[in-house]
């Protein structure tokens, strides 16, 4: 496995407020996720999971630290990329707790929207979306509207949307929370398959006891600090 790809975080800190009321949400997070790897990020409420995800997703500014995405340093005590919007669009995939599909776009266009926003011709973007939908086994619902899909199908479409621009990293925020055990395991299996197929580093934020045993590596976060430990990796090779 190459160490110069995926995502590497060193000493990432985030402080909210200042002076006596300052709160250190992240106190020096260090973690690395390699291409093709799915790691779990677990911790209790208020431990800093969401803050870390927002920092990784370039939607809030860390206070200090360093982040390397692929070969490029994107943060080193300050953002090193000018266009954070383009960074999120082209190089970071998101999968949310709820699918949050755009209700007025059909399944194909929900997935194809990102490459279209990046300037890809519509036909090419749709072809790429269909390829992913096929890989995720929802191609038969390509023309359906989100409201016509089951919860599991919606989450698979959301995963396809996260993957469509072939980002080096995907941030999944409790992607199995609304699903039953069987569907939750199916989603984790899909994430593992996709990580391998597209050599994507996937960080799954969760406190879902059902899926924690499936990770080979787990980062525990508590009081703004991460601790790495080996997972059971049960069920996936």
């Amino acid at each position: 496995m190459s160490t110069n790809k995926g995502i590497r975080i060193e000493g990432l800190k985030k402080r909210y407020g200042s002076g006596d009321t300052a709160v250190d949400a992240l106190k020096g997070v260090t973690m690395q996720v390699d291409p093709g790897e799915v790691v779990g990020l677990v911790g209790p409420s208020g431990s800093g999971k969401s803050t870390l995800l927002k920092c990784l997703g370039a939607v809030i500014d860390p206070t200090a630290g360093r982040m390397v995405l692929g070969d490029e340093v994107i943060y080193d005590d300050g953002w090193k990329v000018r266009d954070l919007r383009a960074l999120r669009r082209d190089r970071i995939g998101f999968v949310f707790q709820a699918p949050y599909l755009i209700p007025f776009l059909d399944v194909t266009d929900n997935v194809a929207l990102l490459p279209m926003l990046a300037g890809m011709p519509n036909a090419e973007a749709r072809a790429r979306a269909l390829e992913l939908l096929t890989a995720l086994d929802v191609q038969h619902r390509a023309k359906a509207m989100p409201s016509q899909l089951s919860g599991g199908e919606q989450q698979r479409v959301a995963i396809a949307r996260g993957l469509v621009n072939h980002p080096p990293v995907i941030l999944a925020d409790e992607p199995t929370a609304p699903l039953d055990s069987q569907r939750a395991m199916a989603v984790i299996r899909i994430l593992n398959d996709m990580a391998k197929k597209y050599q994507t580093a996937i960080i799954v934020v969760t406190h879902d006891e059902k899926i924690i045993p499936t990770f080979k590596r787990i980062y525990h976060i508590r009081d703004g600090v991460t601790h790495e430990e080996a997972g059971e990796g049960r069920g996936f090779d």
């Binding site: 409420s45 999971k49 969401s50 803050t51 995800l53 927002k54 997703g57 939607v59 809030i60 919007r85 383009a86 960074l87 999120r88 669009r89 082209d90 998101f94 949310f96 707790q97 949050y100 755009i102 209700p103 007025f104 776009l105 266009d109 929207l113 990102l114 279209m116 926003l117 990046a118 519509n122 509207m145 949307r161 925020d173 409790e174």
Partner: protein, 404 residues
């Protein structure tokens, strides 16, 4: 790139169409009101056109005969006709009143402007320039020509004060500046109608005159009869309509009449100014005020609907921003929806106004230019109304899409 606004509209078409219909009815009312204003101006112009006059000679220091009352002796026209540059001069009277058709089983009561025309015959200033049915007035008394908008028909018997008139001709677009249809009758009848008192009043006046020793002198036989006769006749008209000779200008002819006859004379331009800027000025202001209020209500509706639609999509907007959608793409989506709503509303409004105009109780003149201005106003209002929703959408934090 696909049209996000278009897809959203197609997805929630019912909301857009029904809101558009509601907005369209408001726009339709606004266009109709603009049409009413145009119609009032057109009525005023038609009144001047159809009078066939180049100059209006009226009582000194009045703005008659349409905006103020005006009385002239009915022989004034003779002196005017002899003035340099005058081709012809004709008396005319105007009296707005309720006119009834009494021959029908159900009596019609129509507000009309009764016009007394001189006995010089068709083609004279003041006469209806054309007919759509029947013939012109050929007798000195008790014949009438009515505007077709009055609803009167050929052969109808009209009651004007104590006398009855037979409708012998119908004309079109002969209306007062208020839009009341005109009924033309012979001048002498019109003078009598303006002056006519009821029998009781006549008896009272004769008794008072007879009891006045100044009028009933034993040594002056015939004086009382002469006084009573003068009291019961009307020798006044409201205006003299003047046509000028070719090669002269209205001002050239008007000035000597003002100087030598000591009367007020209006040219066409001055009469247009009186009708448009004075007679219908208050109505125009009222219409303008209503249009401003309607525009504000329309803007509020569009702003509220677009704001609500945007509020419903806050989470999707947060997701769109998180996955890298530009602010301008989101702003364009909201503005396009507002404009689409405005265009649906305008189409509905234009159709409504077009179909409502013929049945509106007042003449509604819908000009293409006004419609274009209305369309431009709708676009501007919708664009401005969408700014609140756009501002809110741009404030949405993409981090909202990430839980916690």
């Amino acid at each position: 790139m696909i049209s996000l606004a278009g897809r959203d509209i197609l997805h929630a078409w019912g909301k857009f169409v029904f809101t558009g219909i509601g907005l369209g009815l408001l726009i339709g009312v606004t266009l109709t009101m603009a049409g009413v204003y145009r119609g009032m101006i057109d009525d005023a112009m038609v009144l001047l056109d159809n009078s066939g006059a180049d100059l209006w000679v009226v009582q000194k220091d009045t703005q008659g005969p349409y905006a103020e009352s005006s009385s002239l002796y009915d022989d004034t026209w003779r002196g005017i006709a002899a003035m340099p540059g005058v081709a012809s001069a004709a008396n005319v009277t105007y009296l707005t009143m309720q006119v009834r058709a009494v021959n029908r089983s159900q009596q019609r009561d129509v507000r009309a402007m009764v016009v007394g025309v001189s006995a010089d015959g068709p083609g004279t200033a003041g006469w209806p320039p054309y007919l759509v049915a029947g013939r012109q007035i050929t007798r000195s008394h008790y014949e009438a020509v009515a505007d077709i908008a009055s609803g009167f028909r050929l052969g109808d018997t009209l009651q004007i004060r104590r006398n009855r008139y037979t409708v012998v001709g119908l004309t079109r677009r002969m209306v007062s500046s208020n839009g009341d249809p005109m009924v033309f009758i012979p001048l002498k009848d019109a003078q009598q109608a303006q002056f006519l008192k009821d029998n009781e009043a006549i008896l009272q006046q004769r008794r008072r005159t007879a009891e006045n020793p100044a009028f009933n002198r034993p040594g002056v036989p015939g004086l009382l009869d002469a006084v009573i006769a003068s009291q019961s006749s009307n020798n006044y008209v409201n205006a003299v309509l003047v046509r000028i000779k070719p090669g002269t200008t209205a001002n050239e002819v008007a000035e000597p009449i003002r100087r030598w006859k000591r009367l007020t004379v209006f040219t066409r331009a001055q009469m247009e100014d009186i009708l448009v800027n004075k007679l219908i000025a208050t109505a125009a202001k009222q219409i303008g005020m209503f249009m401003v209020i309607l525009a504000m209500v329309s803007a509020a509706i569009v702003a509220f609907i677009i704001y609500t639609l945007t509020m419903d999509k806050i989470r999707e907007i947060a997701v769109l921003k998180l996955i890298g959608t530009r602010n301008r793409t989101i702003a364009a989506m909201i503005m396009q929806q507002a404009l689409a709503l405005g265009l649906i509303g305008f189409a509905v409004g234009k159709i409504t106004a077009t179909f409502a105009a013929p049945i509106f109780p007042k003449y509604v003149l819908l000009l293409p230019g006004d419609s274009l201005k209305g369309l431009a106003a709708v676009i501007v209002i919708c664009a401005l109304a969408s700014l609140i929703a756009i501002r809110m959408a741009l404030k949405v934090d993409p981090a909202e899409a990430i839980g916690g």
